[in-house]
Amino acid sequence: MATQTEVLEGLAEIVNEIAGIPVEDVALDKSFTDDLDVDSLSMVEVVVAAEERFGAKIPDDEVKNLKTVGDAVNFIVANV
């Protein structure tokens, strides 16, 4: 089972690859849209990559609730 730190590291790499955001900027309190400029479509790419990497299922209905990096990390930790 992945720890919060492991998921955050993995998610930071994914966000970096898809949106070009420096890994160190991807912190738990950052908002995807407001702080990291990850728009709704890039968010779908992030979610699909995170599903593949962590083996979690993140339904479309849930994606809109994942406002911050912390929201996503906590959802993944709780659902793998």
Binding site: D39, V44, V48
Partner: protein, 342 residues
Amino acid sequence: MSATIKPVTGAQFSRIHGVGGYRPTRVIPNAEVLNWIDSSDEWIRSRSGIAERRWAGPEETVAEMSVQAAAKAIAMSGIDPAQIGGVIVATVSHLKQTPAIATEIAQRLGCGTAPAFDISAACAGFGYGLSLADGMVRGGSAEYVLVIGVERLSDLTDKSDRSTAFIFGDGAGAAIVGPSDTPGIGKVIWGADGSQADVISQTRAWDTAFAKPDAVNGAGEEIKWPALRMEGQTVFRWAVYDMAKVAQQALDAAGITADQLGAFIPHQANMRIIDAMIKTLKLPAEIPVARDIVETGNTSAASIPLAMERMLERGQAKSGDLALIIGFGAGLVYAAAVVTLP
């Protein structure tokens, strides 16, 4: 003793003999869209890749645009319109349901009494039509079939919906499918998933749109003209990841590898979908990709033949090249195939 029905034989193979398009004269740049929605040119371009789209005027009807596009496809194929044994019109935006607009188009083109009918398969409409035409040619029910994808999506656009007002465009694309000495249309991988019918749809049915406000819509609610709406994130996910698999199936069914393609012509839904699909498909970087959406927007059933014509016109692909085409949209429905370019 029972009599035997005489067998019907068709062509062994089929191919596209000609393609043609019609683009309305009125150009709507993003700057004009900003009169209706609170957005910016940069936002629209980054979310969709669209810089401008064409919107049809009153004279540029579904039939008129279809006839113009079809005439070009017929001329390119070098056949006589009288040789056309079937006219299939794919559209979701011909607002007069009966009769099918295909009959008027067939008559105006001089296709005699060829069977003519409309199909509703949204952005997969051209692929659906191509699959039917291929079957008709090889099954022996027609020598040549005219397939048209045509839309006036501006008639179904809610100019106040900032998630869709900038996307849709109008136009027509046509192709002539006929017999061939060698296979020119690979197996069409097509399907439908009605469990996702709500993901892209018309906002309301015409009967409720025309009902008295207090009868259906609640007292005082404004009667609104139906428009197209979609759930962007759900569509994006399905289009990029599920459709990449369908595209791969079409390649596999044709016995073709991606590096043998001369062009990739996906439905022009959104540049972000196209780019993400290329990545998911691992399409080699040197394969030319249709990006007609920049100038044309999303024209649903018309987008693939319009983009095909444009790539040939501009020399981005040439006659005889293999192209992977894939359409996907409201239904949800999809159709993909490898074809030889005319």
